[in-house]
Amino acid sequence: MLSPERLSLPGPEYLAQRHVLTYMEDAVSQLLENREDVSQYGIARFFTEYFNSVQQGTHILFREFSFVQATPHNRASFLRTFWRCFRTVGKNGDLLTAQEYHCLLQLLCPDFPMELTQKAARIVLMDDAMDCLMSFSDFLFAFQIQFYYSEFLESVAAIYQDLLAGKNPNTVIVPTSSSGQHRQRQPPNDCNPLEGVEASLFYQCLESLCDRSKYSCPPSALVKEMLSSVQRMTFYGFLMALAKDQGINRALGALPDKGDLFLDPAMDQEIEKLVAHVSGLSVSGPASSSADTANMPARNSPRINSPWKPLHHRRKMDAESEGSNEETDSSEN
């Protein structure tokens, strides 16, 4: 109800903690970009709509990546939007490659970095066979962990490396995301008969990391639970466990439980209507109007508008052209 800590913080710290200035600055720069329209429309009204859309989480649509990842709220909003826009993919049971998921992400955020998508795919595939197909929900929950806890995971990778190398974890200086870059992501998977690192030691390091980190960390009680039930833990085993943990998903609050991922009666109805309408005209015409009108850009409509039409012909095509990269793929849309 009343958080005394909030009330006693110095002003700038309070504003920073709640990212007030991030949004205020963004609002002002958006206002400047549209200053002609805004002058007629009314400045107070512009601010009202801006903050309403931040509240609803629609403010990250089609924005640059640096803004999309700027605050935890933005990240959660992006995850939610991604889920809402593309859940029909999962409902259909379609399996897509990392490359294809990346294209979906880029529909919402044009400069979304491939690196993040790949990292998420590594969690699903346990760092193996990167061109494999993944189900929507597997990818979504792994992507959620990777995207929302990005900085935390960088530090975890570094800690893991140090533990593997047998360094004393208590003297480990947790690197910032930039200094962690050079030595992460090479956990040797099978050079050791005892795979991974000792779970309790790993937890101790993570706990102190969470205490110090200024970035979002998963609730340490849940991490503790996860690590106390096993003797040893590998890096990707840990990430996979994070991704599968519904408690962490709930604490994060962006996505529903795994079982409810595809429950959306309103959307179903809408799509039924639309399919009935479209099949009356011509199937999967690119000019058909979008189903999720609130959130979808017109250009991805062919993809979600025909949810009953399997996408495997696309997949085959991608699989055949081995060197297909994101340019060629996104140009198809």
């Binding site: 109800m1 009343l2 958080s3 909030r6 009330l7 913080l9 110095p10 002003g11 700038p12 309070y14 504003l15 709640r18 007030v20 200035l21 949004y23 205020m24 600055e25 002002v28 720069s29 206002l31 400047l32 200053r35 805004v38 002058s39 009314g42 400045i43 107070a44 009204r45 601010f47 009202t48 903050f51 309403n52 931040v54 509240q55 709220h73």
Partner: protein
């Protein structure tokens, strides 16, 4: 108006100013190094920015001219005063109010004035006393400015209505609210001076919080909607003792009340209550809340 009060705010402004500089990097307009300039100062021929006219697209100048700077400053001030847990929704609501206020060009009728006054009063928590006082002042002004010819002032009717609406926002039992209103009310056609107004408003806000805390206390004592009546009685007695404690100077009285309500004392009282081998009847949430708030109301000094 209150921009000079907190040194912390200066940093916010310098950040804003730095931001404006960044935006205006193309056109070298010094966007107010010392605090933010008033919107009026942007007029050509003002102190510093003479090059502003050359770079007609200057962002900083646009912001000043269009009143964005002033609006943003005012909004951030309100955020800092109120420290809401959800600043984004706070700001959305704040700007929406501004839109409504702008839309209502003619002097607003009593319902709008009441709504605006209520909004002001609830902007900041009452423990943030400076912010609360300044908001209460704003509410008083808004409420009193509706006259056709001149400032009409706040009469007893508007004042009572505002208090009634404040009380409706919380979980205080209706009897308690009614009794409180009886104690602090003024006659309908009486002009209400600001100190009475502030006292009434503040008391209502404190009552709401007291009721919320009592409710939380009850949740600890019992399960669901009933709790052991012996426990409740013991706690209520302790509360009564604490509220009635001491006659010395104020800080001492506060400390004494606090110590009487410390966990050890409360635990002792509750333990003793449970030792009495009476038949354990139960007390409902409503009854507990009613008794607890009655203790508070009894301490409210009536307005004469």
């Amino acid at each position: 108006m209150a921009a000079q009060k907190l040194p912390a705010r200066a940093e916010v402004w310098s950040k804003m100013a730095a931001y404006e500089k960044r935006r205006a990097a193309a056109a070298p307009v010094p966007a107010g190094g010392s605090g933010l300039p008033e919107p009026g100062r942007a007029a050509p021929g003002g102190g510093g920015p003479t090059e502003g006219s050359a770079a007609e697209g200057s962002a900083a100048e646009f912001l000043l001219r269009a009143g964005v700077t002033a609006m943003v400053r005012e909004a951030l001030l309100k955020v800092l005063e109120a420290r809401p847990a959800e600043p984004v929704s706070f700001l959305a609501e704040y700007f929406e109010r501004l839109v409504l206020a702008e839309a209502a060009a003619e002097p607003p009728g009593p319902p709008q004035r009441l709504a605006r006054a209520l909004w002001y009063v609830c902007l900041a928590h009452h423990s943030h006393r400076t912010a609360f006082d300044s908001n209460a002042g704003a509410a008083y002004e808004v409420l009193g400015c509706g006259g056709r010819r001149r400032a009409a002032g706040v009469d007893g009717r508007l004042y009572s209505e505002l208090l009634r609406r404040i009380c409706q926002r919380g979980a205080a039992p209706a009897e308690a609210a009614a009794e409180l209103l009886r104690r602090v009310r003024c006659r309908d056609h009486e002009a209400v001076p600001f100190d009475v107004f502030r006292y009434g408003v503040l008391t209502c806000c404190v009552l709401l919080e007291f009721a919320a805390k009592a409710d939380a206390l009850f949740a600890v004592l019992g399960a669901g909607d009933s709790a052991d009546s012996r426990l409740c009685q013991a706690v209520l007695r302790a509360l009564e003792d604490a509220l009635g404690a001491g006659h010395g100077p104020r800080p001492g009285r506060y400390l004494e009340a606090g110590s009487r309500l410390g966990p050890d004392r409360l635990a002792l009282a509750m333990d003793q209550a449970l030792q009495e081998r009476k038949l354990g009847s139960s007390m409902s949430r409503e009854e507990f809340l009613r008794k607890a708030t009655a203790l508070f109301i009894a301490k409210v000094k009536p307005v004469e």
